[in-house]
Symmetry: C2
Subunit: 406 residues, 2 copies
């Protein structure tokens, strides 16, 4: 049916089967048996057995408990050997830096958040990332030698081949800087560079709200607004890596100036900056709100979210307005790409229904019925960790690729 015009096979059959089996083991909660793998992959049990032998021999896969019987011998459940190595996931935002150290089954050992100013440029920022990571590792009695791979997310369009970003609106000075090569050299470990929203989608798909969904959109609402798209079970990056740039859809003609140079972008009316600005305006206009206790120029979106959760009406109104704008864009996204799930993440999304309800309403009102009925809209369950968990998943992917290709 589809235009199957497959590109050259980059792996041989055995390697590909190993990767698929490893992924099924990784992403099946509670483990999976050889027999079940055989059924799902449409191979025989004997074929699976020999492959598992290979993987167990290298120490990548473990036998754990027996599963429940279904009228016969109990299955032996398999899991990834968590102790096979350590992986680092890094989420770089416009104003924050999240670092996670995890084992091979993506179990988080330690996580930290630091402030960061991306606009300081690549050299300074990457030096800070390096310093914080090393400190975090030494705290765990680990060093870079123990890290098998690193996943890194950045808030801009990524050129996969080059390992750099291209013309990122909120990362001035980073254009074409060889981020991946720089870090790989510095750390002597493989590094995967991706867009942060993309990683959010991957994280929520693997261990969050969108587990196993075939068509998932993850909307990251932070300083910028971006979407990560998982279509037909595959990450979709677009021609130049800038797919999912929902933040720069025009929502309000002649609206406020956006960092990208246009006017009225979603990001400029519903991003973290816009939320802070509107809250500040409300304070200035003398409205009664908890936010008055903060110097007007220092109000952040996080403050607004906190106030809203404590019941502050002005803060709630600002967020509802942002949700309505978001909803208009999400309704378009739902019409274009008919996902089974939309996950809203990023710092602001923690306020929950206050932001989600306007989005759901807009989708109900503006999207085509058959698409609107098929989609569930929820908040990220990994919270502000979606992207860094996604980065860990990418890191493990990369490590597995290296380990198996031998």
């Amino acid at each position: 049916m589809d235009a199957l015009f497959t590109s050259p096979r980059l792996m041989n059959v055995r390697t590909l089967n190993k990767r698929v089996i490893l992924n099924m083991i990784r992403f099946t909660p509670g483990g999976i048996s050889r027999a079940e793998l055989a059924r799902q992959m449409d191979l025989t049990r004997s074929a699976i057995s020999t492959i598992i032998d290979d993987l167990a021999h290298v120490g990548l896969v473990h036998e754990m408990d027996n599963g429940p019987a279904t009228g016969g011998r109990r299955p032996i459940l398999l899991e990834i050997n968590p102790r096979h190595g350590y992986v680092v996931g890094i989420d770089m935002g416009a104003s924050h830096l999240g670092i996670v150290v995890a084992d091979f089954s993506a179990h988080v050992l330690e996580e930290r958040e630091y402030p960061l100013a991306v606009e300081a440029g690549p050299e300074k920022c990457l030096a800070k990332v390096d310093a914080q990571l090393r400190e975090l590792l030494s705290h765990l009695n680990l060093s870079m030698e123990d890290v098998m791979a690193v996943g890194l997310g950045v808030p801009g369009p990524v050129v996969a081949d080059a390992g750099s970003v291209s013309a990122p609106p909120i990362m001035p000075g980073w254009d074409n800087y060889p981020i991946r090569d720089h870090l790989q050299k510095q750390w002597n470990a493989p590094v995967a560079l991706s867009n942060d929203a993309e990683l959010g989608a991957l994280g929520e798909w693997a261990y969050g709200a969108g587990r196993g969904e075939q068509n998932l959109a993850y909307i990251k609402v932070g300083t910028g607004i971006g979407a990560g798209l998982l279509l037909d079970g595959q990450m979709y990056r677009g021609t130049t890596g800038s797919a999912g740039e929902i933040g720069h859809i025009t929502i309000q003609d002649g609206g406020p100036l956006c960092t990208c140079g246009n006017h009225g972008c979603l990001e400029a009316v519903a991003g973290g900056g816009a939320i802070a600005r509107k809250a500040g305006e409300a304070v200035r206009s003398g409205r009664r709100t908890q936010l008055s206790s903060i110097p007007v120029d220092h109000i952040t979106a996080r403050d607004v979210a906190a106030a809203a959760r404590l019941g502050d009406l002005v803060a709630q109104q600002v967020l509802t307005e942002a949700g309505t704008y978001l909803g208009i864009a999400v309704a378009s996204l739902v019409n274009l790409f008919n996902p089974s799930m939309v996950v809203v993440g990023g710092g602001v999304s923690q306020v929950g229904d206050l932001l989600l309800e306007p989005i759901r309403r807009a989708v109900r009102e503006r999207s085509l019925r058959s698409a609107a009925q098929a989609v569930r809209i929820t908040a990220a369950v990994l919270g502000r960790r979606s992207s860094s968990i996604g980065a860990v998943v990418q890191g493990i992917d990369l490590a597995l690729d290296r380990l198996i290709e031998v």
Copy 2:
């Protein structure tokens, strides 16, 4: 890198390789040699040779001329055997019916256009399709026995498994009607049912403006407005087959009522109906235009397009306005999907730059720079035949599947 979580392999390796080889032969203009196939598929020449032997033995593949030498023996170019069978492509629109009879290399033998009223419901319409097709075939001294497969496009969301449409705004009475089963029984030939915009994308990708593009969006502007999306070389249909419903993006808040029940949809302000309505309003308001010669209630989008091509200013203005609305939607699509090409097709698109320029301008002004720079926006080169050619391609796909699985 990607989450490779492949579904069960539905074909064995040999069958899959045969399909891929056939597709490379089909879609390489001028034929392709065994050696070139080997290089592109990353197989050895001997492997390709045995597969080609198989295919030639069944009569699916032919040796044609020798290609030019590059310092050694001249390659033997291969092509699909056009005489292996006949295939039918059908494009059902809201108000028209296009039927194409083609050979196995998608060369069109005969094509016809008929008026049609989809709102008459499935029984009447499919009976008309049947009658016209049989007449067309007999004109070629063929009968349904000679037809190896049929591809059919309809203007609504398609449920692939069921072979029906679900809640189509412009196909009242067709909801859940078993279109595919009905026709397969009637014709005793395999039928592939798809969305018409999807087929337009496929047609333009295979033999039109978007040849070989990896990320292609085809926008069909007719009575309805829909998009067909080809992402990473694969057709993308969405969760319930309603991906690409760009026509029901809200463009003008509180705008005119759309067939879908919402207000201000793109389709309601830039679709064929809207174009006709706005032209009618211009005539009524007494503006000077060739369209005055037509009874106001009988003006169609086609009339407007014709007048515009003859230089009628009012008609041109109506189309430019439609183009601007289209551009707003396309700019959003470009931000979300970052395609390498957008092809504009459907009846109205024949006016060319009059419609395209406003779209290009909107994309330049409203889309993120890295996405806007990567995309080319052109008119369909297959004209109003995009979808029916796409239907032929689908038909051949289906026939090949049947022929090879044995």
